[in-house]
C-alpha cells in the first residue's frame, strides 16, 4: 500500500515538474520573432526624423529569450523601427537605474529577424553613469528590429563614476544674507545587470558647420 502511495506521489511530482518546465519553456521565446515588439516611434510621426524620444524600462519590458544553441536564457527587449524613407541617425542611451546599469548588446535585425549588425557593449560611449551609441540607419521600405540584451561579457563588472558635485547654501546674519557654494567629489558605483532604461531618440542636427538643428 505504502509502495503504491510512493509510486503515485513520484508520478505526481514528475508530472508537476514537467508541467513547470514546460510552462517555463513556453514563457521563454526561442527566437526574436516570438517576442512581443515595442514600436518606435511610439507616437506616430510623419517621418522617422520627426519621432519623439521614447524610454523603455528594461526590467519591465524585457522578455525571456533562449539562445540559438539553447544553452542560455536572457532578458531581451525587441523594438520595431518603422520603415523610413530617408536616412536616420538613432541615438540610443542606456540610462542607469537605481540598482544597475544595462550593458546593452544591440542587434539590428531585418524584417525576417535576420541579424544585420551586432554592436557589443564595447561600442557604447560612457557619459557619466550612462552609455550611448548612435545607429546610422539607411532608408528602408521594410521595418527593422532592434534586439537589446545584456552583454554577457560585462555582467558582473561595475560601472564607476568619479565626478564633481556643486552645492549651494543660503546664509543670513539677520541683516545681511547671501549664498555660498562649494563642491565635493562624488563616487558612484553600480553593477552591470538587467536594469535601467533604454532611450531612443532621433538625431535632429543637420551636420553642417555652423548649422542648427533640422527642425
Amino acid at each position: 500500500m505504502c509502495l503504491l502511495r510512493l509510486v503515485v506521489l513520484c508520478a505526481l511530482l514528475f508530472a508537476t515538474c514537467g508541467a513547470v518546465a514546460q510552462a517555463e519553456d513556453a514563457a521563454c521565446a526561442h527566437s526574436p520573432a516570438e517576442l512581443r515588439a515595442f514600436v518606435y516611434p511610439a507616437v506616430p510621426a510623419s517621418t522617422l526624423r520627426d519621432a519623439k524620444s521614447a524610454d523603455y524600462v528594461f526590467a519591465a519590458n524585457a522578455q525571456c529569450l533562449q539562445s540559438a544553441d539553447e544553452q542560455r536564457r536572457a532578458p531581451a527587449l525587441l523594438i520595431r523601427i518603422d520603415k523610413c524613407a530617408e536616412p536616420a541617425n538613432l541615438h540610443l542611451t542606456s540610462i542607469s537605474g537605481k540598482e544597475a546599469t544595462l550593458p546593452a548588446r544591440l542587434q539590428v535585425l531585418d524584417e525576417n529577424f535576420t541579424e544585420l549588425k551586432d554592436y557589443p557593449f564595447d561600442r557604447f560611449v560612457k557619459r557619466g553613469m550612462d552609455y550611448t551609441l548612435t545607429l546610422f540607419l539607411n532608408p528602408s521600405p521594410q521595418p527593422r528590429y532592434l534586439l537589446v540584451m545584456p552583454d554577457s561579457e560585462w555582467l558582473g563588472r561595475v560601472n564607476h563614476l568619479t565626478a564633481g558635485n556643486r552645492w549651494t547654501a543660503f546664509w543670513s546674519t539677520g541683516t545681511v544674507m547671501g549664498t555660498i557654494s562649494n563642491g565635493t567629489e562624488v563616487r558612484r558605483e553600480l553593477p552591470f545587470g538587467s536594469g535601467g532604461t533604454m532611450r531612443i531618440e532621433v538625431e535632429t542636427d543637420n551636420r553642417v558647420v555652423g548649422g542648427a538643428h533640422a527642425h
Binding site: 541617425n89 541615438h91 560611449v125 560612457k126 557619459r127 557619466g128 550612462d130 550611448t132 551609441l133 548612435t134 546610422f136 564607476h160 563614476l161 568619479t162 565626478a163 564633481g164 558635485n165 556643486r166 552645492w167 547671501g178 549664498t179 555660498i180 557654494s181 562649494n182 563642491g183 565635493t184 567629489e185 538625431e203 542636427d205 551636420r207 553642417v208 558647420v209 555652423g210 548649422g211
Partner: protein, 248 residues
C-alpha cells in the same frame, strides 16, 4: 599686465560657472564609419594656446563678490605657478604628449594624421573666430587631406571640485573635437571628452574616470608628489587622446 591677465581669466571662469548649463557645448555627433570609409588622411588644425593650470572649480571664495574672488585667486595663483614650474622642470609638454598619443592611436586605426604648423598657436597670437569650447566657427576647404580635425583643449591641469579634503585634486583634461570634411562644410564627428568629470555644468561629455593613483586630497599632497603629479598629467592626456581616437 599680469593683474589684468589673471583678473580677466578669473572673470571668464566666474562667468562660465555662473552660466552653468547655458554654455553651448559641442554636440554629440558620432562618426559614421560606413559613410566615411574613404577618410584616411586627416589634417589636424592648429590648436589655440593652452597652459597647464590648477583650479578649485567651486571655490567658495567666488561666492563673496570681487573681494572673495581676489582672495581665492591670491590663494590659487602661487599653486598654479608651482605646477607650471614642476611641469617645466620635468620637460613635460602636454601638446607633444597628446599629439604623440593621438597619432599612434589613430595610426593603429588606419588613419594618417598630418599636424598643422604650429600644432598649437603661441600665447597671444592672432587667432580665428572660435566657439565657446574653442572649436572654429568656420573652415576652409583642403585639397591634401580627406578630412580636417579641429581639436581644442579646455581646462588642462589639476582640478578639485571644491575646497575641502572630500574634493581632491586630480589630473583633469577637457578636449573638444570636430571632424569636418575636406570641403570644410560637413560635420563628420563632434563631441567632447573629459578626464575627471569635475565640471558639473558640462552636458553629458564623454567621461573617463581618473586613475586613483593620482588623487591628492589637498595641495600639500600634490606638492609632495612632485614628478608623480606630472606623471598623472601624462596619463590623463594619453587617455584623452586614446578615447578620441576610439570615437573615429
Amino acid at each position: 599686465m599680469n593683474r589684468f591677465h589673471w583678473m580677466s581669466r578669473l572673470a571668464a571662469v566666474a562667468v562660465l560657472l555662473a552660466l552653468g548649463g547655458c554654455v553651448t557645448a559641442p554636440k554629440h555627433l558620432a562618426y559614421n564609419h560606413e559613410e566615411a570609409a574613404s577618410t584616411k588622411r586627416i589634417v589636424v588644425l592648429s590648436m589655440r594656446h593652452s597652459d597647464i593650470d590648477l583650479l578649485i572649480v567651486n571655490n567658495p571664495g567666488y561666492s563673496f563678490g570681487l573681494i572673495g574672488m581676489a582672495i581665492a585667486e591670491a590663494n590659487r595663483a602661487p599653486k598654479s605657478h608651482w605646477l607650471k614650474d614642476e611641469v617645466a622642470r620635468d620637460h613635460f609638454d602636454h601638446v607633444v604628449e597628446f599629439r604623440a598619443a593621438l597619432t599612434a592611436a589613430m595610426s593603429a586605426r588606419g588613419y594618417e594624421l598630418r599636424w598643422s604648423d604650429p600644432v598649437q598657436l603661441p600665447d597671444g597670437a592672432k587667432d580665428v573666430a572660435r566657439e565657446q569650447f574653442g572649436l572654429r566657427k568656420a573652415y576652409g576647404p583642403v585639397s591634401d587631406a580627406d578630412a580636417q580635425l579641429d581639436v581644442d583643449f579646455g581646462f588642462v591641469g589639476y582640478a578639485a571640485a571644491g575646497s575641502t579634503d572630500s574634493a581632491p585634486y586630480r589630473p583633469t583634461v577637457v578636449v573638444s573635437a570636430r571632424l569636418v570634411g575636406a570641403d570644410g562644410k560637413r560635420v563628420l564627428f563632434e563631441d567632447y571628452i573629459v578626464y575627471n568629470s569635475v565640471f558639473s555644468f558640462m552636458d553629458k561629455p564623454i567621461t573617463i574616470d581618473p586613475d586613483d593613483h593620482y588623487r591628492y586630497p589637498e595641495f600639500n599632497a600634490l606638492h609632495d608628489a612632485g614628478p608623480d603629479a606630472v606623471k598623472g598629467l601624462q596619463v590623463a592626456f594619453r587617455a584623452a587622446a586614446e578615447e578620441l581616437a576610439k570615437q573615429l
